[in-house]
Subunit: 277 residues, 2 copies
């Protein structure tokens, strides 16, 4: 199934981190002026703010709050650190409810001082333990598989197959996955696993950007769609074919783009969204 043509910005969401130099008030003003309909809020953008008021401010600008980024980081070699992580995830769920979004994205964590298998077990235990709180808050949790280059400290979940397996094992309709093209574009099983998570009704989020050639930094060198080699439109077709009808979320971390004029950067994102996504 090929992707639907993009004719307007009604399914465009941008993450606050994408235009990091702007605070959340500035980002909401500029995004909404440009016609962007969705925003995903990173927790750092909420610092020193009343969360409910900030949610109201965003809705007053006519925008949907697609998700809160991010919970997770469940791994650790001590019981105390793992318990603290779960407590922090409960707070993230509470923040999401106060903000007025029903989704928290999980960067699951990894600890280089233990095996990946131990980290994966801790992740699954951590998410499972959050399900009752997530249900009572009516906030869903999306497992985001991260690129294998982050398996040391950020996530021991590195393929969509793993995320799908874990969501199925937990077996709650409040637990699903987030598909990010940056992390998953290389995977030969990507299409079949996208189809699978659609069939399981747990495809909760879709993140887009591009992989620059060359990429010069492991974390902060993401590109705008069309700047690199990811077939964003093809993958969007797979995601839509799997039944996903939510927002296309632009999530870019880039020292280079953050140094540029953020208004021009926003224009480039919107142009690339229409033409290269």
């Amino acid at each position: 199934m090929s992707a639907k043509a993009i004719t307007d910005l009604s399914q465009l969401c941008i993450h606050t981190i994408t235009t990091k130099p702007w605070n959340i008030e500035e980002a909401v003003k500029r995004f909404s002026q440009a016609g962007v309909k969705g925003i995903t809020v990173w927790r750092d953008a909420l610092e020193k703010r009343n969360v409910q008021d900030t949610g109201g401010m965003i809705r007053d600008h006519g925008m949907d709050i697609v998700s809160l980024c991010r919970g997770g980081f469940f791994c650790g070699t001590t019981r105390e650190s793992r318990r603290a992580a779960i407590d922090d995830n409960r707070r993230a769920i509470d923040e999401a409810r106060e903000l007025g979004t029903n989704l928290v994205v999980l960067v699951c964590g990894a600890d280089p001082n233990q095996s990946l298998e131990d980290s994966r077990n801790q992740i699954q235990d951590g998410i499972a333990s959050l399900v009752p709180h997530a249900e009572s808050a009516n906030v869903r949790l999306a497992i985001e598989p991260l690129h294998p280059m982050y398996a040391d400290t950020r996530s021991a979940i590195n393929t969509l197959r793993q995320a799908n397996d874990m969501a199925s094992a937990i077996g709650s309709r409040y637990v699903g996955v987030a598909v990010d093209v940056y992390h998953l574009w290389w995977d030969p099983e990507l299409q079949s696993e996208i189809t699978r998570c659609g069939m399981n009704n747990h495809l909760f989020a879709f993140h887009i950007c591009d992989w620059k050639v060359p990429t010069v930094d492991l974390l902060l060198d993401r590109g705008i769609m069309g700047e690199g080699c990811i077939p964003v439109k093809k993958i969007r077709g797979w995601v839509e074919g799997a039944g996903f009808a939510g927002y296309n979320e632009v999530e870019i971390f880039s020292t280079t783009h953050w140094k540029s004029d953020q208004g021009e950067f926003l224009s480039r994102i919107i142009d690339a969204y229409k033409n290269n996504s």
Copy 2:
């Protein structure tokens, strides 16, 4: 199956690129003095040298030539570039025979201007077309899956499952795989796919080093075994359990280590081989 204890250097091989500041004559002298029994020769180390004479020089020092690195890079958007790549791989096979090794390691290539699927088809076609030449030269070809962070330009083969599938599809006893812990340590299927390639009798090579935490460069920041988070000994146990009895090849690219005294670096490698591999 747990790894056998390492009691001597009889299965230690070092790649010429590991001590890049040394030319091949210096490397062979220093490796053999230290008791290292195997060497893998990178093609750049043979520049401006008679290949047969260099092979003789290595054997005169009592060392085995484990493999020639590297062939591959089969992908390209034009028929001419792909044909040139195949010609270059024929030359690599000839060089291996002249040098006196029966193995060429393949970094298969990728082209960001075409789909990964197209690149994979070109890789399989390229390797298959080399089989008659490889057979007549009695030189085997090892498909080395590369870390997904190299899927843009270096290899569209990024998991051991893919390499195993391709080796099986080609179906020649001259085509197998090389397992490098740096590229594959994160993969949840690593153990089962190592077992599979052992059962298929096509596990041709085993490369070791470590993934530093943090890793600050996508290419040139590999660590000595024990410097990072890869469970090298556990993976070696899987490889030996699959029937592999060849060399453990130390392949490190590191700006940091290349800047250090190479004699001390070699001592550290040998110590890490005995204690952390």
